[in-house]
């Protein structure tokens, strides 16, 4: 059986479809949000590691370059002293001073075979003060970290000076000491407290006296992270430090995730460590992401609101359209019905309408639901004569005039044209009550019209009585009366069929 789509089912389908559509949009938005957050976190970790590794590497290279540069400058200084034909200790001190200033060498000094150190201002026995002098023989360059009593640590760069003699005394090495604070100044960058760096020894001791973030601060790196990373991670990174292997550690401390990267500083036993609090990158990326999500949410909300409004308007329009169609259909039906029940010439109801009314009234009579009913039968006098003598146009006009006259008087009743020259008026209630007055008035005009040669109508009437079974019974009496009246009017000079 073919199912018919109703208006209700259509609206229901539209509403359910709309809700499903919106639900899918919301779910899709949520999934997208979750995916974005996950992707952001992954990006943060990758960016942090990449950024830190690059930063640590760059700074480690800076130190290596500084070391190499100092060794080169030392070589130049020794070559110069060697060729300067120095003749006294005083002269040697002055020359060392000049070279220090010229080549920007910090604490440049020479050491003789008895481990006596010669600087610009002092000459001292230095075996206990400079660890590289503890070796009996010095064959190659040495880089060591010196713990300076009560001061910052220093990087000591020493180079052997074979065949270097002054006044017959052999000097076995030259060296410079660079304060780690100066190196820190060289490496420092304006990061507004977001990234931190430090130089560390193989056992995690902070050499640079720089803060590696608020958690580790200046403390020993491995002591600090002992509680916040697993033992396995701790051991792995501790080994990396010992073996001068680069790596990274991520840990959470004081509610913040921190990532540090470390790279060995070539030529030294130091590790360059750079740390960033991921919250910094995270906050930045999240801020961008949240702005994007916010914009996306606004768009989705806009689409949802727009969809709701659009569907509502669509439904209202559909409803309005349906009502309009319904009204038009009703109007058409009414028009067709009117056309079927109306006499096209006079505009009053036709015989078909009278039949319907007759059926309706018969049912009322049968059911005893009506008591005030009168039937007026009207017949136009002389229509045939007019048609024959003046033509059908004049005849039609006579019919129209007669109809207008009847309608003018019987305003409280229903007028029907039931034949060519015959009209019936059905009177009920108020029309019934005023019937006799109206009949008197119309008959008076009819009689006047005889003299004027205008419309003459023969009128008979009858009222429903208790014996009547049908309307037709009433009609019959009224019709007979109408004929009687016709005769009366003829007598008064009214035109008749025979006049034609």
């Amino acid at each position: 059986m073919k199912r018919q789509i109703t208006r209700r089912s259509f609206i229901l389908t539209a509403i359910i479809g709309g809700i499903l559509l919106m639900t899918m949009v919301i779910i899709n938005t949520y999934i997208s949000y979750e995916q974005t957050v996950t992707a952001t976190n992954e990006a943060v970790s990758e960016v942090s590691s990449f950024y830190l590794e690059a930063m640590a590497d760059r700074r480690a290279k800076t130190i290596t370059n500084l070391i190499n540069s100092n060794f080169e400058q030392m070589e130049k200084a020794v070559d110069y002293i060697n060729s300067a034909k120095i003749g006294s200790k005083k002269e040697l001190r002055a020359t060392i001073g000049d070279l220090k200033a010229l080549l920007s060498l910090n604490r440049f000094a020479l050491v003789d075979n008895d481990n006596i150190v010669y600087t610009q201002y002092t000459t001292y026995t230095g075996r206990s003060r400079h660890p590289f002098l503890s070796e009996d023989k010095m064959d190659e360059r040495s880089v060591s970290t010196v713990s300076l009593y009560g001061s910052s640590k220093q990087l000591c760069l020493a180079a052997p000076t074979p065949d270097f003699t002054i006044e017959g005394k052999h000097y076995k090495a030259s060296f410079v000491q660079i304060d780690i604070r100066d190196i820190v100044d060289l490496l420092a960058f304006d990061d507004e407290g977001r990234t931190y760096f430090g130089l560390y020894s193989k056992n995690g001791e902070n050499l640079s006296d720089t803060e590696l973030g608020p958690y580790i601060s200046k403390k020993n790196l491995f002591d600090s992270i002992k509680g916040v990373v697993s033992e396995e991670t701790w051991n792995e990174n501790h080994d990396n430090f010992s073996n001068k292997v680069e790596g990274s550690i991520t840990f959470t401390a004081d509610g913040a995730e921190e990532t540090l990267c470390y790279v060995p500083v070539e030529g030294t036993d130091w590790m360059m460590v750079v740390l960033i609090r991921e919250s910094v990158i995270h906050d930045r990326i999240r801020s961008v992401s949240e702005r994007s999500l916010e914009a996306s949410n606004r768009q989705i909300l806009f689409i949802l609101v727009f969809s709701v409004i659009f569907f509502s308007v669509l439904l209202l329009m559909l409803k309005a359209l349906s009502n309009k169609n319904l009204e038009a259909e009703k109007e058409n039906t009414r028009t067709f019905r009117n056309m079927a029940n109306t006499d096209s010439m006079t505009g009053v109801r036709n015989k078909h309408a009278y039949s319907d009314m007759e059926n309706y009234l018969n049912r009322k009579i049968r059911e005893k639901e009506i008591n005030k009913l009168a039937i007026i039968v009207c017949d136009i006098n002389g229509l045939k004569m007019v048609n024959d003598t003046k033509g059908h146009v004049a005849g039609d006009q006579l019919i129209k005039d007669a109809s207008s006259m009847i309608c003018r008087y019987f305003t409280q009743g229903a007028v029907y044209r039931v034949g060519g020259d015959e009209f019936v008026v059905v009177l009920q209630e108020k029309g019934y009550d005023t019937m006799h007055e109206v009949l008197t008035e119309i008959n008076s005009e009819v009689e006047d019209n005889i003299k004027k040669g205008e419309v003459v109508i023969s009128i008979g009437y009858s009222e429903l009585n208790a014996e009547d079974q049908l309307v037709h019974d009433v009609f019959e009496r009224a019709d007979r009366m109408m004929y009687e009246r016709k005769q009366q009017l003829k007598a008064m000079g009214a035109p008749t069929r025979s006049d034609a």
Binding site: T122, T123, Y124, S128, S147, Y149, G150, K218
Partner: protein, 377 residues
């Protein structure tokens, strides 16, 4: 009745005076030797003891007060724009490297004022009065404004110093060992309370051992005044307690290795040893190494603040250390050398014996001291 308030007032004034001096001595670095009113033995000697400080204040005060790195030259205006000095000390050792850093600080400050100071700061690998004599004679041939010496052996060096002064040389002594009393050297900058240092460390040990047990004494170089004075202080303190016994006294000649060997031998001879008193910087390091390797529970007390010794203190192997302010000794030595070079003598400008403090520190102070002195964190 009338006398009672008067005595009470005197008593209160005396008590107040003692309290004021006690407070002053815990923070002052230089020049307290002349404060004869001090009644407390530590204060008299210029020693502060972390145990004597109130809790909370204890660590910071003892660690930070032990060594003073913050020095400025006084208002004295040197007469020349260049000075040349010669300093010689007992032996090559980190303790004197710390003194050298104080000297270098003063030298830089003079340089900032436009005064150039050059100097030699020399020592043999092992303490030797003969070597020191040789160095002093060589220095006498040099063009030095002042010759300074950390006396290796007071009996041998003091006569030499007298003859040098008689010959017109300007001679001073510095760091931990002065010449013998009556020596003509112009001034001494350094520890003037070595006897008390030895006595106080020993007192701390006795208290720890509840005044009974067997102890050994490690001394540094034979004849070195500071070492000998500390050993004397230790012996006199032990003598006060009948249940304490000295089972050995050995000299390590300022060698850590020898101190280790001597301790191993002492422990072998006296397995029930209860304590070791160390009179120089190498003693406690060698003793601690030996104790670590043995099963002994002997308590170590000792002098000075070698980095390794501080680590042993931190680990509880050493009970306490007497820390001398070497940095200040170095700074003051150079400053007074300039004044002596200008022909000044002890008086208003400087004292004949410039006292420097010794602070006794314990395990709880070790970490801070390591960080402060060696940046070891």
């Amino acid at each position: 009745m009338k006398k009672f308030p008067k005595y009470t007032g005197i008593l209160l004034i005396t008590l107040l005076t003692v309290l004021v001096f006690t407070a002053c001595s815990s923070t002052s670095a230089v020049g307290n030797a002349g404060d004869s009113a001090q009644t407390d033995a530590f204060d008299e000697a210029g020693i502060t003891d972390a145990d004597n400080l109130s809790s909370g204040q204890e660590s910071e005060t003892s660690a930070h007060g032990a060594v003073d790195f913050d020095h400025d030259l006084d208002s004295y205006e040197p007469k020349k724009d260049h000075y040349n000095f010669y300093f010689t000390y007992k032996t090559v050792h980190p303790w004197w490297d710390a003194v050298a850093l104080g000297m270098e600080d003063a030298q830089r400050q003079y340089l900032d004022k436009g005064i150039t100071i050059t100097y030699e700061y020399m020592a043999p690998d092992a303490a030797s009065a003969e070597d020191q004599t040789k160095r002093l004679l060589e220095a006498a041939d040099g063009d030095y404004d002042v010759i300074g010496v950390d006396v290796a052996d007071a009996d041998i060096i003091s006569p030499l110093l007298d003859s040098m002064v008689d010959s017109g040389y300007k001679v001073m002594t510095f760091s931990s060992s002065d010449a013998r009393e009556g020596c003509k050297r112009i001034a001494y900058v350094g520890n003037t309370h070595n006897y008390e240092d030895g006595a106080d460390l020993t007192e701390a040990l006795c208290k720890k051992l509840d005044y009974k047990g067997k102890v050994a004494i490690l001394v540094g170089s034979v004849g070195a005044p500071c070492h000998e004075d500390r050993a004397r202080g230790a012996k006199d303190t032990i003598a006060k307690y009948p249940d304490m016994e000295i089972v050995a006294t050995e000299y390590d000649m300022d060698s850590v290795d020898l101190a280790y060997d001597l301790t191993v031998k002492i422990l072998k001879d006296n397995p029930d040893l209860d304590g070791i008193i160390c009179c120089n910087m190498s003693n406690p390091v060698g003793a601690a190494r030996a104790i670590t390797e043995s099963n002994s529970d002997a308590v170590i007390v000792g002098m000075d603040h070698d980095q390794e010794a501080l680590k042993y203190l931190k680990d509880g192997i050493i009970y306490c250390l007497g820390v001398q302010d070497c940095y200040s000794i170095g700074f003051d030595t150079l400053q007074i050398a300039v004044k002596i070079a200008d022909g000044n003598t002890p008086g208003d400008l400087f004292e004949e014996e410039t006292n420097e403090i010794t602070t006794v520190i314990y395990q709880e102070d070790a970490a801070q001291m390591l960080e402060l002195l060696y940046g070891d964190n």
